[in-house]
Amino acid sequence: MNVFMLSLVMLFISIAIAMVRVLLGPTIPDRVVGLDTINTLVIAGMILFGVATEEVIYIDVAIVYALLSYITTLFIAKYLEGGKI
């Protein structure tokens, strides 16, 4: 088994632990923090999958996913502040 695939399995365990905080967070910023952590872990997992299968397209998807998840986080933060978007 490829060592990058094994690391990907460990990242899936980490994502599953972080999902618990999203499900039972007491306040809304707790859930946003969990979502941000899951986004970063998914980016790292996409890079590992691209290296494991030696396909460049997954790493390109990881770059685009990083920028889009950043926009999502800023959007939710601006909504929580109560300002105009």
Binding site: V20, R21, V33, L41, A44, L48, V51, L74, I76, G82
Partner: protein, 115 residues
């Protein structure tokens, strides 16, 4: 020799990402959870990208000419993570303080009443 470097980088990245998730479960507060969930994932993702870069450079050195693209694109993904992750964490902390979440067990709040 090159595989030991890749193993060490992957081990550091996986351990720090697991510690980020465990800290996200066990800390008592939004701000401390943000401290665990953002800094540790940034550090771990840096080392996972470094492992990908070293692997691509090694395959390129051994004659697979198209594998340099994996190194270059992993470097751009690393730059994207480094730029976006601390900025998002700062935005979440500011939004949490403005929406009225207090730090647990805090005595002094220096930002109280400030815009």
């Amino acid at each position: 020799m090159i595989w030991e470097i890749i193993y060490i980088f992957l081990a550091i990245g996986i351990i720090f990402n697991l510690l980020a998730s465990i800290g996200l479960i066990r800390f008592p507060d939004v701000y401390t959870r943000l401290h665990a969930g953002t800094k540790c994932t940034t550090f771990g993702s840096i080392f996972i990208c470094l492992a990908a870069i070293v692997y691509g450079l090694w395959k390129w050195y051994n004659g697979y000419a198209s594998m340099i693209i994996i190194s270059i694109h992993s470097f751009f993904a690393l730059i994207a993570i480094l730029l976006t992750n601390p900025t998002g964490a700062h935005a979440i902390a500011r939004a949490a303080h403005k929406s009225g979440v207090k730090p647990k067990k805090a005595v002094v709040d220096d930002l109280e009443g400030k815009k």
